[in-house]
C-alpha cells in the first residue's frame, strides 16, 4: 500500500487487520511533516507522544480489542480545538501558551475512534480571515503554488491535507473556513448542519455560526469522519438529538431523478473568474449526463449575505472574545507594580497587545454594532434579514434536493494580494456565508483545474440534516473530477 496517498478507510482497515501497525503509519507521516512542513508552515506544534499513542493502539489491537472506525489514522487538528495537554492557541498571541486540561468533544470522539493526533494546525487568528495570513504563527503556503494562500481560516488543515502530511484533518467553518481552503487546496471539506457536531472545547468565534467538520481527501473519508464526530453532546446545548446516519455506508452516486438547483443570482455574480465558471458548468453537464435534473432557483436576498454575516459574526465575536482578560489564562501585558494598576487599563493593555489587527478590527466593528443607538440598525436588522435569507433557502429546497454553486469567485490568490484591503477580503465570502447564516450543511468537492494549474472546488448545499444528499452528489462528481489523481508539486 502506498501510505502517502492511502485513504482513511484503507489505513483504518489495514491497521485493524494488522497488515500494518499504527506505529509504522505514524512514523511515515511524521517523516513527511519533518521534510515538507518547512515549506508550508501548516503545523504550529507536534504531539511528542504520537508514537507512544500508536504503540498503545497496536497493543490493544494485538489483544483483540476493537479500537474504532479510524484505527491508527493520523490526524492534524486545527488550533481552534482544545487538546488535552497540548497547546491550543487559536492562532493568537493572546493564547500563545494556553494548554487546555481537556479535549474538545470532536477531538475526544476522534481519539476514541482510534485516531492518532500528530499535531496542531495553523489558522487565521481566531478563525478571522480567508487567507491564513492573520495567524500569529505566520502565513501558510499553498502546496500547489507556494506563492499563494491556502485559503482560510482553516489554511493549515487544507495545506497539510493536500500535501499529505496527515491522512485526515479537522477544521472549523464560521463563514466558509472549511469550504474555501478545501477548494483552494483541492481537498474535500464538509461543514455539517448547525448542531450536528458539538462545539464544546472549540474556541468560540461566532457561536450561532461556528461548526466543526472534516477536511480530507475523499468524499467517503469525509462521510466516515463526520459520522465519528457528530451527535448529541450534553456539554453543548445546541447539538441536535437526531440520530447520526451512516453516511459512509449509504453513499449512492446514482443521480437519476435527483434535482440539482442552480441559484440564478450566483451565476451572474460580479467578478466570477472564467475558470471557476467553466468548472461549475462542467459539473452541471456531468450531473445532467448522469440523469440529474437541473432546476433554476432564486435566492434574491443573497446579495445581503456578506453584510449580514459580518454584522452578526463581529457582534458575536466582540462578546465571545471579552473572556480574554489576562486573568485566568492567556497573555497578560507586563506591569511593574500590579497593585498600582487601574483595572480598565489592565484589561485594555492586555487585549491591545494580545490581539492582532484583524481581530481588533472585528471586535471594534462588533462593539460598534452592539452599542447603544446602533444595536437596532445593525444587530437586530441583520438578524431579521438573516431569517428572511433562511426562508428563501428553505423555499429553494422545496424545488430541489441540493444546490450546486461556486465556492469562491476565483482560485487561490497570491500571498499579500488582498490583506491590506479588508472589505475586498470580506466580499470573497459571497458564496459561503449564507450556508452558515441559515445553518445549512455545505461542502466543497474538488472538480476542476485553472489555467495556472490550481485546483477549483464546487460547493454543494442541502436542507438542514440532509447531509446524505449532498455527500451523494459529491461522490458522483468525485468520480469524474479532473483533480482526481493530481497532486501538488511539493508532494
Amino acid at each position: 500500500m502506498d501510505l502517502t496517498f492511502a485513504t482513511i478507510c484503507e489505513i483504518a482497515e489495514a491497521v485493524k487487520t494488522k497488515k500494518i501497525s499504527a506505529k509504522e503509519v505514524v512514523v511515515h507521516f511524521q517523516k513527511r511533516i519533518e521534510s515538507l512542513d518547512g515549506k508550508l508552515n501548516a503545523f504550529t506544534s507536534r504531539n511528542e507522544n504520537a508514537v507512544k499513542d500508536a504503540e498503545m493502539l497496536d497493543a490493544r489491537i494485538a489483544r483483540g480489542e476493537d479500537v474504532g472506525a479510524l484505527a491508527g489514522v493520523p490526524f492534524g487538528i486545527k488550533e481552534m480545538f482544545c487538546t488535552k495537554g497540548q497547546k491550543t492557541t487559536a492562532g493568537s498571541k493572546i493564547l500563545e501558551n494556553f494548554v487546555p486540561p481537556y479535549d474538545a468533544t470532536a477531538v475526544a470522539r476522534l481519539k476514541n475512534a482510534g485516531v492518532v493526533v500528530l499535531g496542531k494546525l495553523n489558522q487565521d487568528e481566531f478563525a478571522m480571515g480567508s487567507s491564513n495570513e492573520t495567524s500569529f504563527h505566520g502565513a501558510v503556503r499553498n502546496p500547489w503554488d507556494l506563492d499563494r494562500v491556502p485559503g482560510g481560516s482553516s489554511g493549515g488543515s487544507a495545506a497539510a491535507q493536500s500535501a499529505r502530511l496527515v491522512v485526515g484533518t479537522l477544521g472549523t467553518d464560521t463563514g466558509g473556513s472549511i469550504r474555501q481552503p478545501a477548494s483552494f487546496c483541492g481537498i474535500v471539506g464538509v461543514k455539517p448542519t448547525y448542531g450536528r457536531v458539538s462545539r464544546y472545547g472549540m474556541v468560540a468565534y461566532a457561536s450561532s455560526l461556528d461548526q466543526a467538520g472534516p477536511m480530507v481527501s475523499s468524499v467517503k473519508d469525509a462521510a466516515l469522519t463526520l459520522e465519528v464526530i457528530s451527535g448529541f453532546d450534553p456539554q453543548d446545548g445546541t447539538t441536535s438529538r437526531k440520530q447520526v446516519p451512516q453516511w459512509s455506508q449509504n453513499l449512492n452516486s446514482n443521480m437519476k431523478g435527483l434535482k440539482v438547483g442552480l441559484v440564478k443570482e450566483y451565476l451572474t455574480a460580479e467578478g466570477l473568474d472564467s475558470d471557476v465558471q467553466k468548472t461549475v458548468e462542467n459539473a452541471v453537464n456531468e450531473l445532467k449526463k448522469m440523469g440529474a435534473e437541473i432546476v433554476e432557483v432564486s435566492v434574491p436576498l443573497t446579495e445581503y449575505a456578506v453584510p449580514v454575516y459580518y454584522l452578526v459574526a463581529a457582534s458575536e465575536a466582540s462578546s465571545n472574545l471579552s473572556r480574554y482578560d489576562g486573568v485566568k489564562y492567556g497573555f497578560r501585558a507586563e506591569f511593574k507594580n500590579l497593585s498600582a494598576v487601574d483595572l480598565a487599563e489592565f484589561y485594555s493593555q492586555t487585549r491591545g497587545q494580545g490581539f492582532g489587527a484583524e481581530v481588533k478590527r472585528r471586535i471594534m466593528l462588533g462593539t460598534y454594532c452592539l452599542s447603544s443607538g446602533y444595536y437596532d440598525a445593525y444587530y437586530t436588522k441583520a438578524g431579521q434579514v438573516r431569517r428572511l435569507i433562511m426562508e428563501e433557502y428553505l423555499a429553494a429546497f422545496r424545488q430541489c434536493d441540493v444546490i450546486l454553486s461556486p465556492v469562491t469567485t476565483a482560485p487561490a490568490f497570491k500571498i499579500g494580494e488582498r490583506i491590506s484591503d479588508p472589505l475586498t477580503m470580506y466580499l470573497n465570502d459571497i458564496f459561503t456565508t449564507s450556508t452558515n447564516l441559515a445553518g445549512l450543511p455545505g461542502m466543497s468537492v474538488p472538480f476542476g483545474m485553472s489555467k495556472d494549474g490550481l485546483p477549483i472546488g464546487v460547493q454543494l448545499t442541502a436542507a438542514h440534516f440532509e447531509e446524505q444528499k449532498m455527500l451523494n452528489v459529491a461522490s458522483a462528481l468525485e468520480s469524474v473530477s479532473t483533480v482526481k489523481g493530481k497532486h501538488p508539486h511539493v508532494v
Partner: protein
Amino acid sequence: MIDKKTIEHIAKLARLHVTEDEAQEYSTQLAKALGHFEKISKVNTDGVEPMITPTEIEAYWREDVVKQDFSAEEMTSNAPAKAGNLFQVPPVV
C-alpha cells in the same frame, strides 16, 4: 460617521487599547465596511422576528448535581499570575 472620537469611545467599551495610528486606520476601514453593510437597511423586515440561532432546538435539561471535572490546580494551571490557587489581579475595589 466614524470619527476619531467614536473610535476612542468604542475602544473604551471594548477594553481595547488602540494606538493613534490604529485609530486612524480603523476609522477609515470601519467607515468603508459599514458604508457597504448599510445596504441591509433597504430590505423590508416589518414584523420579522430576528433570528439569533439557526436551528430550533429544545432546551436540554439535566439533573442539578455536583460533580468535579477538574481540580483547582488544573483550572489555575494556565494563570499568568497566581498565589496558591488564587488568581492575582490588580485592585478591583
